[in-house]
Amino acid sequence: MNNEIIKNGSQMVCESLIKENVDHIFGIPGGAILPLYQVLPEYPQLNHILVRHEQGAAHAADAYARATGKAGVAFATSGPGTTNLVTGIATAQMDSVPLVAITGQVGRPAIGTDAFQETDITGITLPITKHNYLVMETKDIGSIIKEAFHIATTGRPGPVLVDIPKDILQEDGIFEYPQNIDIRGYKPNIAVNQKQIKKASILIKEAKRPVILAGHGIKISNAYQELLSLAEKCQIPVINTLLGLSSFPANHYLYYGWPGMHGMAYSNLILDQADLIIAVGMRFDDRITGNPEKFAVSAKKIHIDIDPSEVGKIIQVDVPIVSDAKTALKELITNVKDKEHSEWLIQIDRIKNNHPLKLRDTQKLIPQYIIKELHEITEGKAIIVTGVGQHQMWAAQHYTFNEKNKLITSGGAGAMGFEVPGALGAQVGRPDEMVWSIAGDGGFMMTMTELATIAENKLPIKFAIINNGFLGMVRQWQELFYEKSYVSTSYNGIPDFVKLAEAFGILGIKVTDKKQVKSAIQDAIDHDGPVLIDFIVESEENVYPMIPSGATVEDMMEEPTSQEIK
């Protein structure tokens, strides 16, 4: 027997990760996973970033994956270490992000005995992972990790958790890493159904008022060029979903914003008037459809999605195409002839002009203005990471995304607290680009502990805290639907974020006046290291337009005129 292939379980894990081209891991050690940590120095290719909370590890690995297109990797120890990952895993699941979580478990003999720090993490994460594993034999480590990465990154990506008992991490065995794997019940790449492509091509040919509704799938399958080509070839306007933002240049003449609860009024109206919607890599989330029975009723629908279970789940479609976005779009491009839609484009330009996205002209410091300035000063080149709430919607509305893959935000889960570890993961994944975290004061306080990680690793992330002193989005609902009864949404005693930044060794800047905005942003960019700007903004600004939950375009509230705002 060749001695070289004898490894202990921990070494096998590291060897496997190297085979999968992993270069960064986010995590925190503990008893059950300690053997794995103790061999890390043998593998300098694996850069471990010690976060301050496992939720941070999961969100950072998630954002790393979104920023790079590679799987993100998180480590956590058994019990509370693993349960702290849960929010991050659920976030990755909702947004189809390839995340591989490797967790330590109590030793095999102790499983099922309620041993110290024993938690059934495979049971807990069953409904929030694409798949998960409890490794029960050392010899299986290689094939399970190979499968985990394969499942996480192919088809519709998603999180996979691999739980490894401590005694397996310590046990010696023969290491084998399979070259190929064949998972009987998992065949994600189905050939595109040519009949459906033909049917779709006919619908495109016949359509007078077509719209492409492009989602996250464009970014995941790297179909930027194909989206652009199809749109230009057939002169079809493009509307993005929130997660689809930065998949199509926003400064392109065929771009018409994003729809939904807080999307542009004109995008919603255009979808409502369309006679054909070509939905690509998106899943008709309720934040987009409102009442699905009344969503875009005049339009036929072509739905391209790689996950068959998404097709027909919410909306009845005329032509289902089960495929990744890139392949399906390529097929469509070769099957359709050039087209013009000049009348439709004139019509929708009129809609856009009549229902523009407004920026209130005021001397007060409002979040929308800050984001617009941020876009101008950074020339739209920054990677924007957000939290969840009003600031997220304003970021999506006013930071126009002209370049590829520039927005990283928690869509499906809407996980507040994503803004700090998300920025961490994005910056680690794309070290040469400028990362701006547009943070809510509420969300920031959920995970600001990762400022320590950011400072320690000298990551030059810039934070723009949109500090309205409120759980703003919830306050807005209370204002509009509960007669301004602000129950538990106003903060009394927000810490001084500038001093807080300084405590972490990070430059802090406070901005209270509109006139300070430009120079503060410029100073942050010029500073060689992380910076936090605390923007003390108008506290009761609302996000418009707004379609109330479960309603329709007809119920859309557009921005009130200045006089209407007290």
């Binding site: 409904p127 409890l134 009987r184 019940g185 068959p308 279970s309 027909g312």
Partner: protein, 173 residues
Amino acid sequence: MIKNNSQLETRIVTALVNDKPGVLNRITSMLRRRAFNIQSLAVGHSEIDNLSRLTVIVEGGDDIVEKLTKQLHKLIDVIKVNDVSDDNIVSRELALIKITSTPNTRNEIIQLVSIYRSKIVDVSANSIIIEATGDDQKIRALQDLLKNFGIIEVIRTGIIAMNREKINKRKEI
């Protein structure tokens, strides 16, 4: 499509799944999370090593069964899924029914059981256990008749279903 006594539309879906720890948990967890109404679920070894066969009776029409098959398929441990409701199938369920019996009622019970082509598998001083096989309707009918004697316990395996030979000549045995 089958209609049972309660007039709810139900469908039969069979699936070939990995025979590994936790697989049933994955399936039932999905069924619960996606709020499918399941009338019965039966699982056991198949003719293939390491694979089990599952029969699910779900309440609902075409749309529900389509969603169910897609969601089942999405599970990595599920290899193959078939909606066999409209196929030419044989479906059976096994029930054990324990009823009160006295020397006076024993003969009547034996008669009933033989009409229903069921079996008596245990006779004790005060009770009898009956083994019945058939489709849902037959078992319910028998159970209804036995009610008068006093049912002590009923246990049912859940329906299992199998396609007949695809060739024309089919014979009910």
